[in-house]
């Protein structure tokens, strides 16, 4: 096996991994603040992918421009989901929350199946087949743009949490529920806001992912599992950890596909998950719990 093939596959894995990371970032932010595991996360991702497909098919809207309307719609959807359905569940036991989001996921997957049928959909833009060559190294244009978008969105979110007053308020809710209430924050509203932001992350990731893979309704549960693996590896609730986990999983998938067999690629992700859970349960970048 030639050296430059391995490097090129690794580059593609890392770039895809950044988009995975953005998807997982949404899950991580939601868990970090609301403390509810979004079992419908991958299903939301596929809905965003279909939204990009529809916008492309009807308005010839490039997925990079579709990001704006889709993310806005997802923010509203996420806000409504949290304030309407999940907020009453935040004091219920975990299995109860799990059932709720599972039911939401079932409705989402099969709603897509009803609306679009089981066939695969994609978008075709001219830059998907182009790449930059840097000596023997190849950078897939669509993949590189998508990764850039993922980094930009993550940076934006990071800045929001770091520097805005609303971001600080959300972090206060995450740090200390009771304390946040005492100083007069409307915690449930901030939870809804957080879920909206997490959903918007997924929306951007979905619009990017449709440039790289075809979408089918049944892809949802697979993405949910993938997002879990990434955030656990990186550290549930840690923003940098989600991106790092995404890159690691993207890389391990690409290399396992190259060296062993593509069908075994997620086996390595799950093995990594098990190892991390056992030896560093807070994740690679997670805070010590």
């Amino acid at each position: 096996m030639s050296w430059d093939l391995v490097v090129n596959v690794s580059i593609a894995g890392v770039l895809t991994g950044l988009v995975y990371g953005l998807m997982a970032l949404g899950l991580s932010v939601i868990f970090g603040v609301v403390r509810v595991v979004n079992f419908a996360h991958g299903e939301m991702m596929t809905i965003a992918m279909y939204a990009a497909v529809v916008l492309f098919a009807t308005f010839r809207l490039d997925p990079f421009l579709a990001v704006l309307p889709v993310a806005a719609a997802f923010f509203v959807l996420g806000y409504a989901l949290q304030s309407g359905l999940i907020n009453p569940f935040i004091t219920r036991p975990e299995h109860s929350q799990f059932m709720l989001l599972l039911a939401v996921a079932i409705i989402m997957v099969n709603g897509l199946l009803v609306a679009f049928g089981p066939g695969a959909r994609n978008v075709i833009v001219d830059y998907q087949l182009e790449s930059w060559a840097l000596g023997p190294l190849l950078f897939d244009k669509a993949r590189a743009y998508a990764a850039g978008m993922a980094i930009a969105t993550s940076a934006l979110l990071f800045a929001f949490f770091r520097f805005t007053l609303t971001g600080k308020a959300i972090r206060a809710c995450a740090d200390n529920y009771l304390g946040a209430k005492v100083v007069g924050l409307n915690v449930k509203r901030y939870y809804a806001l957080t879920f909206g932001l997490g959903s918007a992350c997924v929306a951007v990731a979905g619009c990017m992912m449709i440039l790289l893979v075809d979408v089918t309704p049944t892809l949802g549960p697979a993405y949910t599992l993938l997002a879990f693996v990434i955030v656990i590896v990186g550290g549930l609730g840690s923003m940098g950890g989600a991106l790092l986990g995404g890159v690691l999983i993207g890389l391990s998938e690409a290399l396992a596909g190259l060296f062993i067999t593509p069908s075994a690629k997620s086996m390595f992700s799950f093995a990594l998950l098990i190892l991390v859970l056992l030896f560093r349960p807070q994740g690679l970048l997670g805070r010590k719990i």
Partner: protein, 346 residues
């Protein structure tokens, strides 16, 4: 009538109805009833872990699959009968459960993290079995189907009625076992751990040991369902038997029926199976047979039940029937979400 008497009468009537069913039911109804019993049994097994001891497993398909493959593999390659194969299957399942439990509990993993760990093990095994050629790989493992009119209980080959009665016996056995466990020392320890693990530990309960016991009993019970599955359906595919959706099917019944109760898993399995079939019939009558419509309805019903009956159907029903059932539901909810009880105190 006292509540206990009423429960006794209810049980007797239920047992009678179930015993008589094959004499009156069509083959379609019988197959649905067998499916209900299957999920009642697996739900009961899962309930030992979650409902009694409070450990949320989302990977019970692992035990169904391991036992199914163990017994079917022995039968397929060496002609070893299922009842002998069951012991190997059970041994593997208990070992797998013990390994997962040991790793998780030793490293202080609980709550959501424990649930994700069980998913990870099941998914890891699913993909692994895709690459075991000896057991058919992704192409599946098939058991030869013989004449279905003679009954060969020893090899678990026979009529649908036989399978029905075998599963009924499993369900009855599981019910009796769980009823006994709930009233045993283990049962009380488990409930103490479920309600408040730290308090249980402070009282001197070796929580590690009792949680391990719950996982191992649950895995051993589930292995029976696996053997039944292999010989009832005669085909096994890793994609199907280890898939997370099968784990979810297993846990829906007890959650809808009522976690931690004895009747909950049975009632939940019956409700969900009948609901799924009812929706199919209804949609066929309306002519709405697009793929996915059925599951959307199913999801909506699940959502409604979990929103309005958070402790499941059985505790509410038992109150109505005057069975004096005090719902022993797990109360591991948090007073404040910042009070994170989920993970890693290593």
């Amino acid at each position: 009538m006292s509540a206990t008497r009423r429960v006794g009468v209810l049980l007797a009537l239920l047992a009678l109805a179930l015993l008589a069913l094959p004499y009156v039911a069509s083959s379609y109804v019988l197959s649905v009833a067998t499916l209900i019993l299957f999920f009642a049994f697996t739900g009961q097994a899962w309930n030992v872990m979650m409902g009694f001891a409070g450990q949320l497993s989302l990977g019970h398909s692992l035990y169904v699959g391991l036992a199914a493959y163990a017994s079917a593999g022995l039968f397929f390659h060496y002609g070893v009968g299922p009842w002998a194969g069951l012991w190997l299957g059970m041994l593997i399942c208990v070992a797998a459960g013990a390994a997962i439990g040991f790793l998780a509990f030793r490293f202080g993993i609980s709550g959501v993290y424990f649930a994700l760990l069980t998913i990870a093990f099941a998914e890891f095994t699913r993909i692994g079995f895709d690459h075991i050629a000896w057991l058919g790989g992704p192409g599946g493992l098939f058991i030869r189907v013989e004449q279905r009119d003679s009954i060969d209980l020893l090899n678990l080959r026979g009529t649908p009625e036989m399978f029905y009665y075998v599963m009924l016996a499993f369900v009855a056995g599981a019910f009796a076992l769980c009823a006994g466990l709930l009233r045993s020392r283990a049962g009380y320890y488990w409930q103490a751990i479920r309600e408040n693990e730290e308090a249980a530990q402070a009282l001197g309960i070796n929580t590690f040991r009792w949680k391990m016991l719950a996982v191992m009993i649950s895995a051993a019970m589930t292995s029976l369902a696996g053997v039944f599955f292999a010989f009832y359906y005669n085909n096994l595919f890793p994609e199907q038997i280890f898939h997370i959706s099968r784990s979810i099917e297993i846990i829906l019944g007890p959650i809808i029926g009522g976690i931690g109760t004895l009747f909950g898993p049975i009632l939940g399995a019956a409700l969900l199976t009948i609901l799924a079939d009812g929706i199919t019939e209804l949609l066929a009558a309306l002519g709405w047979e697009f793929p996915g419509v059925k599951q959307v309805f199913y999801g909506v019903v699940l959502l409604t039940v979990i929103m309005f009956l958070p402790h499941g159907v059985w505790p509410a029903l038992a109150r109505r029937l005057g069975l004096g059932h005090k719902a022993p539901e797990p109360t591991q909810g948090r007073a404040a979400p910042s009070d994170d009880a989920s993970s890693g105190k290593s």
